[in-house]
């Protein structure tokens, strides 16, 4: 008798739990627990750290993203996010074809840099036909040409305490009470020094168009599109991003996306 009563109680408990799960399925019940900073959300986000470590362990530092052939380029690269920055600074730079634009390299480096487009383009370049995977689910194959980020970092001589490369962009992605929010993002030094991580100024054999991030955008081929900022003007070496923006390492990260986007 006792045995049955326990099993009946268990049955009723699990049945009612199961039923309420089904009834609530749209799960307004979970909505309130899943905001950025909520306990449950932070716990679930722990899985991203696990994914990061597992994929770093499997892929190592230098495993290359798949590259494709010219025949795989069947359409222009689909632009996404901001495609025509409305910022005065950007429009001013665009007006004289980025002659006054500079790439600043600063932060935890021995030798801060300020590079013109010509200086960047005179450095050794890499051209790769890769697939751009957007977090939304779509993919697009295109040919990218640019300066390997590792060469720029070597020139600036990164200090040993630096842990992340932060990209600062010219485009306003959002507005808040505190003012305009410019796009920004961070990657670790492993991806920053990855052979396919380039500062791209060419797309499909032509100069990078405005909609795709002119004059310079990042390609981080082992991660999703939101980790590849456009309209770049400053690279900053940092040991932490906790004090910047929302403290999660990027504009989209501050809005709930995982910092590591290798999946």
């Amino acid at each position: 008798m006792a045995k049955f009563e326990i099993s009946r109680r268990k049955f009723l408990t699990s049945a009612s739990l199961g039923m309420s799960g089904i009834m609530l399925s749209g799960c307004d019940a979970f909505d309130s627990q899943l905001g950025v900073g909520d306990g449950l959300r932070s716990f679930l986000e722990g899985a991203n750290g696990l994914t990061y470590r597992a994929q770093r362990w499997l892929a190592g530092h230098d495993a290359l993203a798949q590259e494709f052939t010219e025949a795989d380029i069947r359409q222009p690269q689909r632009p996404n996010g901001v495609t025509a920055p409305d910022d005065d600074t950007y429009k001013g730079l665009l007006a004289n074809n980025f002659a006054d634009w500079r790439l600043e390299v600063s932060g935890l480096v021995e030798k801060p840099l300020s590079l013109t487009r010509e200086q960047l383009q005179n450095m050794p370049s890499r051209t790769q036909i890769t697939r751009h995977d957007c977090v939304e689910g779509w993919s697009c194959i295109a040919k990218w040409t640019g300066t390997p980020l590792s060469l720029v970092l070597d020139q600036a001589m990164v200090k040993p305490q630096a842990r992340y490369v932060m990209f600062h962009c010219l485009d306003t992605i959002d507005r808040s009470l505190a003012g305009d929010i410019k796009y920004y993002g961070t990657i670790d030094l492993i991806d920053a020094r990855h052979p396919q991580t380039i500062l791209a100024y060419g797309l499909n054999g032509k100069p990078l168009p405005v909609e795709n991030g002119a004059p310079l955008r990042v390609r981080v081929e082992r991660q999703l599109g939101y980790k590849m900022p456009k309209y770049l003007y400053k690279i900053e070496l940092v040991d932490s991003f906790a004090a910047i923006g929302g403290g999660r390492g990027g504009y989209w990260e501050d809005n709930g996306y995982d910092w590591y986007a290798g999946i």
Partner: protein, 292 residues
């Protein structure tokens, strides 16, 4: 029909502990992993539908066609003379799915969204959160599958209960007829269709789900570049991932119907406590050979 009526246990019958037909059928490993899968799949489905909503189209190939058409499935909304309508397009054939797919919500507050709010986590549009939930449970699901595989190899569940035998093939036609007539035999062993369904989920659908999931990861793509080629491209992998989801939902529906038809108390008890009531020893009826 007579068999069904007789075999459905009543609460009174269950209360008799001395009943010789009560057997310990499911090990604690089987029960624990079963419920971990149930919970994981529930969250993965609802967060997965939310992720799909970010791009409610499926393609065949390495990339998504924007300047050409390689779309095989799409959910969307369009303006018509009678107002906004939701549609679902499968291989170019369009169906009106207003209220559920494409255009849904409370009356007067409908919005354009792939799957409706009641089918997604969170209920509002939030791709980032859905990904957090999805990948958390992806780890739980995969780990559980691995634990189950190892435990089932060691405790004999795999060899004893799931491995198909020659007999299973012989029984198949009869099994199909019995299921169609909703005539269930309560034995320790799984019947042929059960073996096929459980084996299919555990050895085909769930591994395929994990493989196509990994094929969508740009980082895994650098580790296993052949995986995408094998699956005919990342976008094909995404389409397969979705199709397998549909099959898993189909399995779930049939699984629930079969449990209801075969006696839900007895079936639920066996997957919660492990104890299962088998049919009483037969008196010359057709259950004897099956229970032997």
């Amino acid at each position: 029909m007579e068999t069904v009526a007789r075999s459905q246990p009543t609460v009174e019958a269950d209360a008799a502990p001395k009943d010789a037909t009560l057997i310990y059928r499911q090990s604690s490993w089987t029960r624990l992993t079963h419920w971990l899968w149930a919970i994981s799949l529930f969250f993965m489905l609802l967060s997965g539908l939310q992720i799909f909503n970010a791009r409610p189209q499926l393609y065949i190939g390495k990339e998504s066609g924007f300047d050409y058409n390689n779309t095989v499935f799409a959910i969307g909304a369009e303006n018509t003379a009678t107002g906004t309508r939701g549609y679902t397009e499968i291989f170019g054939k369009r169906f009106d799915t207003t209220g559920v797919l494409g255009w849904s919500g409370p009356a007067g507050q409908e919005t354009s969204r792939g799957f409706p709010s009641w089918a997604t986590i969170p209920s509002y549009y939030d791709l980032g959160t859905a990904r957090v939930v999805h990948f958390f449970f992806a780890w739980i699901l995969s780990t559980t599958l691995l634990v189950w595989l190892v435990a089932s190899l060691i405790n004999g569940h795999l060899r004893r209960d799931l491995a198909p035998r020659i007999d299973d093939l012989k029984r198949l036609p009869r099994d199909i007829v019995d299921h169609a007539k909703l005539k269930f035999h309560h034995t320790r062993e799984y019947n042929t269709l059960q073996k096929m369904a459980y084996g299919g989920v555990l050895f085909v659908l769930l591994p395929l789900m994990i493989i196509t999931g990994l094929a969508m990861s740009p980082s895994m793509n650098s580790v296993l570049p052949f995986l995408n080629d094998l699956l005919a491209g990342r976008q094909t992998a995404r389409t397969i991932h979705f199709a397998v989801m549909v099959l898993l939902v189909g399995f779930f529906i049939i699984h629930m119907l079969m449990i209801l038809a075969a006696g839900p108390i007895n079936e639920l008890r066996s997957i919660i406590t492990g104890w299962y009531r088998t049919d009483p020893p037969a008196h010359g009826d057709n259950t004897s050979e099956r229970s032997a």
